[in-house]
Symmetry: C2
Subunit: 185 residues, 2 copies
């Protein structure tokens, strides 16, 4: 029941795009999958090294004029196979995402109603910002013709974010109303 090392597959997948360096991968992630998968350099660099050790990628040191040296990674055939096998593997469990707002609401009997309403409102604002970010990402994907082959799948993942965000936004409205009604009584 070993926990899967997803980072490995993220890196492998990213190496199938134009990304070649740890730095570029990080940037790419921030602009594409960051709404459902964040990653830090603390994970990227050690794991890239590991990929090479496992024969799933190769490195090449490149010195650039006027810029710091890079390590350019490339996925190997074995790496591609490992990626494809993982893609086929069915997802075992849908993990439950922890939600601090819901946790607070769950115990909100110990709080004034308007205080709970405030919490939801601030959540709402943040979600609205998030929705805007999604629109930004969508623009990037639709503009960048380099990745036309990938675009469709990327847009599907984006759609997920947009739909769920909208649903939660509606929930915010409804819940605020419920709470206000209650405090009127």
């Amino acid at each position: 029941m070993a926990k899967e090392n997803y980072t490995k597959y993220v890196l492998l997948g990213m190496l199938t795009t134009k990304c070649r360096t740890g730095y570029a991968i990080k940037q790419m992630i921030d602009q594409s999958i960051s709404h459902f998968w964040k990653i830090s350099y603390g994970q990227i660099y050690p794991n890239l090294k590991r990929l090479v050790e496992e024969g799933l990628a190769t490195v090449e040191d490149t010195s650039q004029e006027g810029l710091p040296d890079k390590k350019e990674y490339q996925i190997t055939e074995t790496g591609k196979q490992v990626l494809q096998e993982w893609l086929k593997e069915p997802i075992s469990i849908i993990p439950t995402e922890k939600n601090e707002l819901l946790l607070k609401l769950f115990f909100s009997r110990h709080q004034a109603s308007d205080s709970a309403v405030k919490q939801i409102r601030s959540y709402q604002e943040k979600l609205q910002e998030r929705l805007n970010t999604y629109l930004g990402i969508e623009k990037i994907i639709r503009t960048d013709q380099d990745d036309a082959e990938d675009a469709m799948f990327w847009l599907i993942t984006l759609d997920y974010g947009q739909r769920t965000t909208k649903a939660i936004l509606e929930w915010c409205e409804v819940s605020i109303e419920k709470l206000l009604k209650k405090s009127e009584e």
Copy 2:
């Protein structure tokens, strides 16, 4: 920027309900907030101990006939205050939940379309089950008149789960269609 120890507040909150022992808390969580907050004994017991050390709860050893000994916890006044302060504190960030399905879809250009469709279908089934679980929880909440004061808030958190799940279910339908259309071409 210290990471908050949410477990502490979960336990504090649970101690405001009928739960008195670590075992009972675990059960309660599994039946109520498990859809947005899971917890294991490995967290519960050490943290209960810590609550007592910090004066947020008290313990009492109880021996029962025919049953193992228990440690009955009770929240203190300080504990209640700490809980209430935390409830008021606005949520800093909405964390991004990691989603394995989206990760796979994002890289699905390296996979046959029907394989991606299979992934979504299996996700769909799991979500359907989850929706059923939510209905089960709803029944428990609506039946159990012990917790009438809490019920409203509990139902609000449930509603969140139901709405988002339905939205994702719709997304599944739409995405499958998109993929099928694509493979027809």
